[in-house]
């Protein structure tokens, strides 16, 4: 401990400066599809799309690379969002009935999304008024000066924009009721406001639709009902462009077209009424759009309306035009949709060009101009989780050759991969083209490996590799069955790629290893399959060599009770250009592969399972080595993944504990009223309180050799180093297990020419048993200068400096509890850091990364980056293992986030913040991939003059901690303080505006003072409005 304390570096200012130049933590961008989207909006002027989520985030997307994120202070679901067209402003309605105004502001020459106002519709105090004033719909007038709110109580309220001040002209049902014919009233209310639509030609008129079915055309200026339409239970309304008719959709699955004529103020019957999927009961048509086209018949788009009995569970959207009828069949719920069409009032037709559908799990864009309405691939918002992500692998600095080949095979696979047709193209991406190409590989549950372009802000799909086709699975039959079903009516068309159902869980990819120079890939899965693939530009039709490696090595007394292996297909299989399998190595027993590594220069792969590890020469197709790592007492390893032994034991224990608990609490002792001390009483109460809560106990026991699953191979590594003596280096292979054992093998690899004749041999060189027995997480060999050894081919192709083979090498062994550097070949301990003993956290993920200084490109350091089970990231120097910096990154409860974390070689990282989103973060002060974009907006009476001092948006989703250390907080801290002083009277407490003081300690500029005065003015205005409101006659109190 003393040693540790002394070892910690003091505040050497020089070193601190270097550290600042090297390390900085930033969460930069979220890749993938927002989790649980709940609202959608589009601005046709700026060509921006906004998506709101259930966690309170608003994300704006434009052209690829243009991304902005805002996070509401409260994590309430965003239920609606609306753009103020062209102004770069967004209104959001949250689940908690608050309305927020956001602005796109320019700062440091880039755009950010910043909240400027919020509003809460006041309810009548005392009465259960919260639901009555609950906002159901919002209508933003095209002029952007008025916002109409429809409420649950049936009232419509008006707010002035952009100040969000309530106007004293609310419209209540009683006013409407006066115009409603007697027979329709029947003493019932009209129900909540379901839809508000502005008249497309006459902006003074709005169409108000009530849930019970009454639709009213209301003149705002005259406060007069122009027309009444008596319809059925209403779901949504949409105008026809001319304003002569509108369409209503209903809960019975039908829609009606109504004519608006001034001659008939009360219409009972629509022009037409259709239930497209009748005559049997249908589900509601939730939303309908009616778009006129120059070519003739209008385009009708609606969601829902499916026959309840037969297709009630489908998530559908129907496109209807004349005789063309397509029922888009999605795999997840339709949240919302819009069309991109001509909004120019001069033009006669809508002429929609594209349909954008936001589903719960993906975004689908349909080209409405091309025949057949094909889908348009999206350059961002990729559904990472189309099948659950099971593992990932990052390749930095991809050689151009490999990049081109991957892109080209990807294009052959999916020819529509240019994003020029992408209709949402607002804003400018200011980020420079990435210097390096980066690939992110994700392994999925369905046995696919997806290749993503991770070089920039938008994660683009490049290529998809499927490993299922080399196995005999049941999925082929299913395909043919569903094909047959497609013939029937309705004309379903499957759209989207989100497919949460895996055909066979054994196909799931567990580990991936790539050689970026030779285009070789090793993919290993749940059923012990290890597949070696080679990138080929040609189509191929070949048999796959299958080799079986028995990892039990005739150990007796073990029987595998888990799943069977996946039967490989016999005969030759056709493979499209791309990564084509050459060898399939099947581990026996077929437990999930837990580690895999590839050395393309030596033609070797190493793989490990919970039973042992093996070494395979894929050139000669011959196994080199198999070693069982099972401990004799380890019976759990043989149960397989489906074993319930453990959980059963646990649950039994828990239920017993519960019984015991109830007995204890049953006999309560009488509290003795002793006056001596109240502490005792308090203690007794505490003790009782404690007893009520099930005490969580932890056993303190050192790890023993026979802990379950001790044989799991956790990591494997190849290295050219000194294992047998200090003078001769050679190929070695290292394996680390769950019980703290490390096996090092010296390999005899024949020279390049003799690969075919001579076989590789492996000789056990060393076995190391770490005394603390913690699982070995990673092994890496460092050269004489303490640098990690280069990858295969890097040196022979002059892509990296040759490692120092003169000085003595060392091996860095990272266990869950400590890091240790051992000298080679003696394996004598040199340095170590006992992380768990000091910090109480365990190592989850580690990587060796290279950090380049911001001040000089010449200066770089290697560092060991480590993510702990508490979600902290620690950075240590290598090989001295001195702690450098540490940051909070992931919440410790976010187990899947921690498990999915991945570090790059340049000091960045990724982790899943939801099943569908990767958070990208950067530990390096130099290498940062973040959105840099600009959206130019023009707006009248700009509110954001003072809002430039509001804090930078925090990085999104609400699922993770915000960084106190982030640049934003540091630089904006003062501003923040200021802003709170300035804006608080505006936002929430008008009454307090009198005693606002500027108690900021920093410098004040003239602008600040002006802003302050302005906001005080506003506050006073607000105050006036509010008092007026309070003084209103009770008749127009909102109820």
């Amino acid at each position: 401990m003393m040693k540790f304390r002394f070892r910690r570096q003091g505040n050497d200012p020089h070193r601190e400066k270097i550290k600042q130049d090297l390390f900085a933590f930033n969460k930069t961008v979220e890749h993938g599809f927002p989790n649980q989207p709940s609202a959608l909006a589009y601005d046709p002027k700026l060509q921006l799309m906004a998506i709101g989520t259930k966690s309170g985030a608003i994300k704006i997307y434009g052209a690829p690379g243009v991304e902005m994120t805002g996070l509401h202070k409260d994590t309430a679901a965003v239920t609606q969002i609306h753009f103020l067209y062209g102004q770069g402003r967004i209104l959001s309605l949250l689940d908690d009935n608050t309305i927020h105004l956001w602005e796109i502001v320019q700062r440091e020459n880039r755009s950010h999304l910043v909240e400027v106002h919020s509003f809460n519709l006041p309810g009548k105090p005392g009465i259960e008024s919260t639901s009555a004033t609950r906002v159901t719909v919002m209508l933003l007038k095209l002029s952007c000066e008025l916002l109409a709110l429809g409420t649950e109580g049936g009232g419509v309220h008006f707010l002035e924009l952009p100040t969000l001040t309530l106007l004293n002209k609310s419209l209540f049902q009683d006013e409407i009721m006066q115009s409603v014919p007697e027979e329709y009233k029947c003493g019932k209310s009209l129900g909540p406001v379901e839809s508000l639509q502005e008249h497309p030609q006459d902006s003074d008129k709005i169409l108000i639709g009530y849930s019970r079915g009454l639709v009213v055309l209301w003149d705002l200026n005259c406060r007069h009902v122009d027309n009444l339409f008596l319809g059925k239970q209403l779901e949504s309304l949409v105008w026809e462009r001319s304003g002569n008719s509108f369409v209503s959709s209903h809960s019975d699955g039908g829609y009606m077209v109504w004519a608006v004529s001034s001659s008939n103020p009360c219409t009972h019957d629509p022009i037409s009424s259709t239930i497209p999927y009748g005559p049997f009961p249908c589900k509601a048509v939730n939303k309908i759009l009616w778009r006129t086209t120059e070519s003739g018949a209008p385009l009708v788009l609606f969601s829902g309306g499916m026959p309840r009995a037969s297709y009630g569970d489908r998530h559908c959207l129907t496109i209807l035009q004349d005789s063309s009828h397509v029922t888009l069949d999605f795999t997840s719920r339709v949240i919302d949709f819009f069309t991109i069409h001509c909004t120019d009032r001069e033009k006669e037709f809508d002429d929609p060009s594209a349909l954008v559908v936001l589903l719960e799990e993906e975004l689908v864009v349909i080209d409405l101009q091309m025949a057949g309405w094909p889908t348009v691939p999206a350059p961002y918002l990729a559904p990472l989780h189309s099948s659950a992500v099971t593992c990932s692998c990052h390749i930095s600095n991809v050689p151009p050759k490999l990049w081109e080949r991957v892109v080209s095979v990807g294009q052959q696979q999916c020819p529509l991969q240019d994003y020029e047709n992408w209709p949402i193209c607002g804003g400018k991406n200011l980020a420079a083209d990435p210097k390096q190409k980066e690939l992110l590989l994700t392994g999925h549950e369905d046995g696919t490996v997806r290749f993503w372009d991770a070089s920039g802000v938008s994660l683009k799909p490049l290529y998809k590799l499927s490993t299922a086709n080399i196995f005999q699975t049941d999925c082929e039959h299913n395909d043919s069955l569903t094909q047959a079903g497609e013939e029937e009516w309705p004309p379903f068309r499957k759209v989207g790629c989100f497919d949460p159902y895996s055909d066979d869980p054994r196909l799931a990819i567990q580990k991936i290893s790539v050689c970026k120079y030779s285009g070789k890939l090793v993919v290993a899965g749940t059923a012990g399959q290890v597949i070696v693939l080679v990138l080929s530009d040609e189509k191929s039709d070949h048999m796959i060599d299958v080799a079986t490696v028995d990892l039990l090595q005739d150990r007796e007394g073990f029987t595998w009770k888990g799943h069977d292996r996946l039967p490989p297909k016999s005969g030759s299989v056709v493979f499209a250009p791309g990564f084509q399998p050459v060898v399939l190595v099947q581990c026996m027993p077929p437990a999930a592969v837990t580690a895999v590594t590839l050395h393309a220069e030596w033609n070797l792969i190493a793989f490990g399972t919970s039973h042992g590890f093996g070494l395979f020469d894929y050139h000669r197709r011959s196994p080199v080595l198999a070693r069982c790592t099972l401990h004799p007492n380890d019976s759990l390893a043989m149960e397989g993944p489906l074993s319930r032994v453990k959980s059963l034991k646990k649950s039994l224990r828990q239920s017993f504990r519960r019984i015991r608990k109830s007995r204890v609490s049953g006999k309560k002792r009488v509290v003795v009223n002793s006056p001596t001390s109240k502490v005792q009483e308090a203690n007794a109460q505490l003790a009782e309180h404690d007893a009520e809560v099930t005490p969580v106990q932890r056993r303190i026991e050192p790890r023993s050799a026979d802990d379950s699953l001790s044989g799991v191979v956790r990591c494997l590594c190849f290295a050219d180093t000194f294992l047998r003596d200090g003078t001769h280096h050679g190929p070695t292979m290292w394996a680390g297990t769950n019980s703290g054992s490390v096996y090092a093998y010296a390999l005899d690899v024949p020279s390049q020419e003799k690969f075919s004749e001579q076989s590789v041999e492996a000789l056990l060189g060393k076995e190391i048993q770490l005394m603390h027995r913690a699982p070995v997480v990673s092994i890496a060999v460092l050269d004489g200068r303490g640098n990690p050894l280069p990858e295969p081919y890097e040196v022979s192709r002059d892509l990296a400096k040759a490692p120092d083979m003169q000085g003595s090498h060392s091996v860095l062994i990272v266990s869950e509890e400590q890091f240790k550097v051992f000298m080679l070949p003696k394996v004598s301990a040199k340095t170590k850091f006992k992380l768990t003993a000091h910090e109480g956290c365990r190592v989850r993920k580690v990587a060796l990364s290279n950090f380049t200084s911001v001040s000089s490109e010449e200066y770089s350091e290697n560092a060991l980056v480590c993510l702990t089970n508490l979600g902290d990231i620690h950075v240590f120097s290598v090989p001295a293992l001195r702690p450098q910096v540490h940051y909070d990154c992931i919440r410790k409860e976010d187990i899947s986030g921690i498990a999915s974390c991945l570090f790059t070689k340049t000091g960045q990282g990724f982790y899943l913040i939801s099943p569908s989103e990767y958070e990208r973060f950067s530990l390096s002060a130099r290498v940062i991939t973040e959105p840099l974009c600009r959206v130019d907006v023009e707006r009248p009476h700009d509110l954001s003059a003072h809002s430039s001092s509001s804090p930078l948006p925090t990085q999104a989703n609400g699922t993770h901690r915000t960084q106190a250390e982030s640049k934003a907080a540091e630089t904006e801290g003062l501003f923040d303080e200021m802003r709170s002083a300035l804006s608080s009277p505006v936002l929430d407490s008008p009454n307090s505006s009198a005693d606002v003081t500027l108690d900021t300690t920093g410098e004040l500029t003239v602008e600040d003072v002006k802003d302050f005065l302005m906001s005080v003015d506003e506050a006073e205005n607000n105050y006036r409005n509010m008092t007026e409101e309070d003084g209103r006659p009770p008749g127009i109190l909102i109820n």
Binding site: D690, Q697, P702, G765, K766, E767, K820, S828, K830
Partner: protein, 377 residues
């Protein structure tokens, strides 16, 4: 010591001069340094030369530091022979009247000269009021726990060290979350804490009697646990389980050690040794009871656990401590295989096998000894 000894001649280099003392009688003889034979033979020889064939003896010798160390097995016998320079002074006592407290390297009572040592032996009861309690035979004795840092901790706290040198006994306790009441100026305040929740019967923790259920855990190996979660504390304890030092606030404060009693024989094992943290002062040492069991010197190295490296071609060996000592270990190709129980640890006498090894045998032996047991793979 042995300043006035003549320089040994070449002739005697291989022979060990032995001066054996039993009661008031001396016997001189010599042994072959290279072939010392076994301890039982040597014991028989002693009985023979002193002509006391049926007397049970406790054999002690003066080491280079003047400490009286026992000879009761092959290992320490060989040690004694090999370290004799060249005279080996033996002191024999009847077992039934043996004074165990004479053994050891107690810093306070260290006797610098053999004469002083002999004086203790000659007058075994001279400065003792009562005979010390014989705990057990030396070979059965090893520390399992100790209370440390009594001098620097508040009286309400207790720092307990558990020695788990690879023995079979489990540490045997559980911890839980809980809350304790602290008295603050604002009144009683509930603060979260970590408590011992259960003892495994027969476990190390229970057998020491120093830890009890509901004791609040304050520190683990010098690191405060406040603000840490139960899982974090669990991980810290497990990571330190080879040499676990926990500071507790015992639930039952009545059993706390009363430090002021000079006798030190409170019936509990209050083993205060050199402070682990190195901040105990000589003054504080002087306060401690006069017969201190200091057979486990807790310096930084002793908490190190050694990883085991098996050379595929050379057989097992332990990894030496650090790079600096790497050379030393290779110069010792064949190491005696120590058993975990070194028989040379006497009862409440002060016997330092650690210092013995460290000083005499070099660093390699220490690695073995520290770990206690060699893990077989």
């Amino acid at each position: 010591m042995n300043k006035n000894h003549r320089v040994p001649s070449n002739r005697t280099l291989n022979a060990v001069e032995v001066k054996s003392k039993f009661g008031a009688e001396f016997r001189r003889f010599s042994l072959d340094r290279s072939k010392p034979g076994r301890f039982d033979e040597f014991y028989g020889l002693l009985q023979h030369v002193h002509r006391i064939p049926n007397v049970d003896l406790l054999v002690g010798y003066a080491d280079v530091h003047g400490d009286l160390l026992p000879i009761n097995n092959d290992d320490n016998y060989h040690k004694a022979i090999s370290m004799a320079a060249p005279l080996l002074r033996l002191f024999l006592q009847r077992k039934e009247e043996a004074d165990y407290s004479a053994f050891g390297t107690d810093t306070v009572t260290r006797k610098k000269t053999p004469a002083a040592l002999a004086a203790v032996l000659l007058r075994p009861d001279a400065n003792k009021k009562k005979p010390p309690i014989i705990i057990s035979l030396p070979k059965d004795f090893r520390p399992v726990s100790s209370i440390i840092d009594v001098d620097i901790l508040p009286e309400t706290h207790r720092r307990v060290r558990l020695y788990k040198h690879g023995q079979e006994k489990p540490l045997g306790f559980y911890i839980r979350d809980g809350s304790s009441v602290r008295v603050t100026p604002q009144g009683l305040e509930k603060v979260p804490g970590i408590f011992i929740s259960r003892m495994v019967p027969g476990g190390l923790a229970e057998s020491t009697g120093l830890l009890a259920v509901n004791d609040e855990v304050l520190e683990v190996n010098g690191i405060e646990v406040s603000g840490k979660s139960l899982d974090q504390v669990t991980d810290m304890m497990i990571a330190n389980s080879h040499n676990l030092i926990i500071t507790v606030k015992p639930a039952n404060q009545r059993n706390n050690v009363v430090r002021s009693s000079g006798g030190g024989s409170s019936g509990r094992s209050s083993d205060s040794s050199t402070s682990f943290y190195g901040y105990s002062t000589p003054g504080s040492m002087a306060m401690t009871p006069s017969h201190i069991i200091q057979n486990y010197e807790p310096d930084e190295e002793s908490e190190e656990e050694e990883d085991l490296v098996i050379e595929a071609d050379r057989g097992a060996k332990l990894i030496p401590q650090a790079g600096a000592r790497a050379t030393a270990s290779t110069s010792m190709p064949t190491l005696p295989r120590y058993e975990p129980h070194l028989d040379l640890r006497p009862s409440n006498g002060t016997m330092s096998t650690r210092s013995l090894n460290a000083h005499d045998m070099g660093l390699e032996g220490r690695n073995l000894e520290e770990e206690g047991t060699v893990i077989t793979l």
